[in-house]
C-alpha cells in the first residue's frame, strides 16, 4: 500500500512537471520525506488499530533508539562528504568493552573508559580520512574488519556477561524509565536535540556543510577541512559509544557480533532522511525521521501479519524510491539524463 502511494506521488510529480516543476520540485525536495512519513503512518494506522497506541509507539522508538543514536553521528560524517561503514563493528566493540570492564572496574569507571577507547578508534579513522585524506569508504571498510578482529581478540571469542545482573544500576540506560519515558528514548531525543543544535546553529555546523559541499572552496575560505572531518568522526564514535552503552545496558550480556550489519541500516536511515552521499546536505531532524520511518515500517509490516523478512524488501524499495524522488525533484526530471 505504501509503495502504491509512493508510486502515485511519482506519477503526480511526472504529470505536474510540465506546469511548475521548479516549485513542486522544491517543495518535494524539501518536504518529501515528511510527506512520505505521514502517508506511512496514516496507511498503517488504518490497516492496524494497534499501530498508533502509546505502548506500540514507545516500543518502536525504543528499539529504534540504538540505530538512531548511531545515525545521528553518521549524519555528521555523511554531510562532511564521507562515509562511515565501521559503526556496526565499533558498536560491538564498545558493547563488549563496557560489559567486560563493568565487572573489573565497576560501572562508574567502565563507562568513561569505554567512551575513551571508542573515541580513540574514531580519532584514528578521523586522522586517516581527515588529515591523510584517504578514501573514507575503503578506510572504514578496513576498520570494519580490523575492529571486528580487535573485538574478537579482546573477548577471546567468548560472549560477554555481567556476573551480577540484579544488583547493578548499570541497567538504567537500557531498561529504566524517567518521567514515564523509557531512558533510551530520552537519550536519543536529547542527543538529537543537542547535535541538531550543533549542526544548525554553531560555526562548527556551518563548517561541516561547507566542507561537504565544496571542500576546495571551504579550504580557500580558511575553513580547516582536515580538522572538521576529524571532529565529525569523533562525534560519530561518541554516538556509537552511546549506542553501545544502551545495547549493553539493555541486555546486560552480549555476543561479540552484536552490531554486525547495523552500519547498513544506519546508512539506510541517513539516506532515507535525504542526506546526499556527495555531502553538503541533510539535517539531524530528517535523519531522525528516517530512523523512525525504518522502525515504523518494520513494526507496521509485522502488525499486518507479514513475515519479518518482508521488511528488507520493503526497505529496499523505499530507499531507492526516496532517493530517486529526491534527486528527480532536484533535477526537475523523473528519468535520469544518462544516455
Amino acid at each position: 500500500m505504501s509503495d502504491m502511494s509512493q508510486n502515485a506521488s511519482n506519477l503526480r510529480e511526472g504529470m505536474m512537471a510540465s506546469m511548475s516543476k521548479q516549485q513542486i520540485g522544491r517543495v518535494l525536495a524539501k518536504q518529501g520525506i515528511l510527506i512520505a512519513f505521514a502517508v506511512f503512518m496514516i496507511a498503517f494506522a488504518i490497516a492496524s488499530p494497534k499501530f498508533l497506541s502509546v505502548d506500540n509507539v514507545f516500543s518502536v522508538v525504543r528499539s529504534s533508539a540504538i540505530i538512531g543514536v548511531m545515525a545521528l553521528g553518521v549524519t555528521f560524517v555523511v554531510i562532511s562528504g564521507n562515509l562511515d561503514l565501521s559503526v556496526g563493528s565499533m558498536m560491538s566493540f564498545s558493547t563488549i568493552v563496557v560489559l567486560d570492564l563493568h565487572d573489573k572496574l565497576g560501572p562508574a569507571l567502565a563507562i568513561p573508559a569505554m567512551f575513551a577507547m571508542t573515541m580513540c578508534l574514531g580519532a584514528f579513522i578521523g586522522f586517516l580520512v581527515g588529515y591523510l585524506r584517504l578514501n573514507s569508504l575503503i578506510v572504514t571498510l578496513g576498520m570494519l574488519s580490523a575492529i571486528h578482529g580487535l573485538t574478537l581478540t579482546y573477548s577471546g571469542g567468548q560472549n560477554m556477561d555481567i556476573a551480577d545482573k540484579e544488583g547493578t544500576w548499570f541497567s538504567v540506560f537500557g531498561q529504566g524509565t524517567a518521567l514515564g519515558i523509557p531512558v533510551p528514548i530520552l537519550i536519543f531525543l536529547i542527543l538529537a536535540a543537542l547535535l541538531g543544535m550543533v549542526l544548525a546553529k554553531t560555526p562548527f555546523g556551518r563548517k561541516v556543510y561547507a566542507v561537504g559541499g565544496n571542500g576546495t572552496a571551504a579550504t580557500f575560505s580558511g575553513i580547516p577541512r582536515a580538522r572538521t572531518v576529524f571532529y565529525c568522526y569523533l562525534i560519530s564514535a561518541t554516538c556509537v559509544a552511546t549506542a553501545g552503552l544502551i545495547q549493553a545496558s539493555r541486555s546486560l550480556g552480549s555476543q561479540n557480533t552484536v552490531g554486525q550489519g547495523l552500519e547498513l541500516e544506519v546508512l539506510a536511515a541517513v539516506i532515507l532522511g535525504g542526506a546526499s552521499l556527495l555531502g553538503g546536505s541533510g539535517t539531524v531532524f530528517k535523519t531522525v525521521i528516517g530512523v523512525l520511518i525504518l522502525g515504523f515500517i518494520q513494526n507496521g509490516l509485522l502488525l499486518m501479519g507479514l513475515q519479518f523478512y518482508v521488511q528488507f524488501v520493503v526497505t529496499w524499495i523505499i530507499i531507492i524510491l526516496a532517493v530517486w524522488l529526491d534527486i528527480a525533484a532536484k533535477r526537475g526530471k523523473l528519468w535520469s539524463p544518462i544516455a
Partner: protein, 333 residues
Amino acid sequence: MKSGAVSKALANGAIWGFIILQLIFFSIAGEYLSLSDKAFMDWENMLLLLKQSAPIGIIAMGMTLVMVNGNIDLSVGATFAIAAIVMLDSMTWPIFASLGDGVIPIAWLLALTVGTLLGALNGLIVWKTGVDAFIVTLGSMLGYRGIVFMFNGENPTSHLNWTLVDFAEAEFLGLATASWFLLIVTFAIWFLMTKTVHGRNAYAIGDNREAAVNAGIRVGPHMMINFAIIGFLAALSAVVFYSESGSVNPNDGQLYELWVITAVVLGGTKITGGAGNVIGTFGGVIAIQLLRKGLGHIGADTSTVNLVIGLILIAVLFLDRQLNVKGKEELKV
C-alpha cells in the same frame, strides 16, 4: 617522468611483491610456529589455496569491471545466496523429476539466469533513475537478502546430487574444477576489458563520464551490461561452490562484498573508477587467501586475520597515495 614510471611499476608490481613476501614469511614462521610438520610452500597446499580462492575470486573479476566503470556493487553476497538456492531447490522440482541427471544443466542455467537478471536490475535502476550505484546496491543487498530469507526462513536449503559433487570434486590437469572456473573467468574478463570495445568504453566511462558522453559513448547500456556480468559471476561462483557442498544457509555470502572489494582494491583498482585490471585483482584475491591460510598455518585465529586484513587495506591505500604522482599535485591542506 622517470619517477612516474618507477612508481607506476612499483604500484603494479606491489601486489606480487606482497605475495612473495607473505610466502617467505609464512614459510619461515611456519617452521617455528606451526603445529603441523608440513611445509607451508607445499604444492598441494598451493593448489588447495587456488581452489579456495575461487568463490571470492570469480566475483572479484566482475567487481573489477564494475569498479573500473566507476560503480560499485554491494549486493553480490545476496545474489550469491539467491543463485545457490535457485540451483539447489530447482533440482527437487517435480517437473524435472523425470530428467534424472539431466536436471543439472537446467538448474545451472536457471541459477545463472536469475543472477544475471538480478545484476541487470541493479544496472537498470542505476541507469534509469540516476541514483548512485552505492545506494542502489546497498538497497538491493537488503532486498535480495530479504528474498533469500522469505524463501525458507532461517532453514538451510539442501540437495545433494552425487553426479554434481563428482563433477565439482573432479580434477583436470591437476587443477580442481573451481580453480579452472576461476582461471577461465579471469581470462574472459581480461579479454573483455582489454580487447573489446565494451571494455575500453568501460574504462573511458569510469575515468571521465562527461568526456565519455561527449565522445558519443552510451553510458547507460554499458553500466547495465557490467552489472549483469557481475550478477552472472556471483551466480557462477555460487553454482561452482554449492555443487560441491550441496547445502546453503540463508546467511551464506554475507560480507562477501567486503572481501571482494578488499581484494579488488588490494589489486590496485581505483575506487573512483578508470584504473585497474583483472591481473592485479587476481593477485589481490590470492594475497587475501594466502593471508588467511598463512595466519591459520602459524596458529593465529580468525580475529587476527580480520585485524590484519583491515590494517593492510588501509596501509595499501596509504602507500598507493604516496606512490601516486597525481596525489602530489593535489592541494595540500
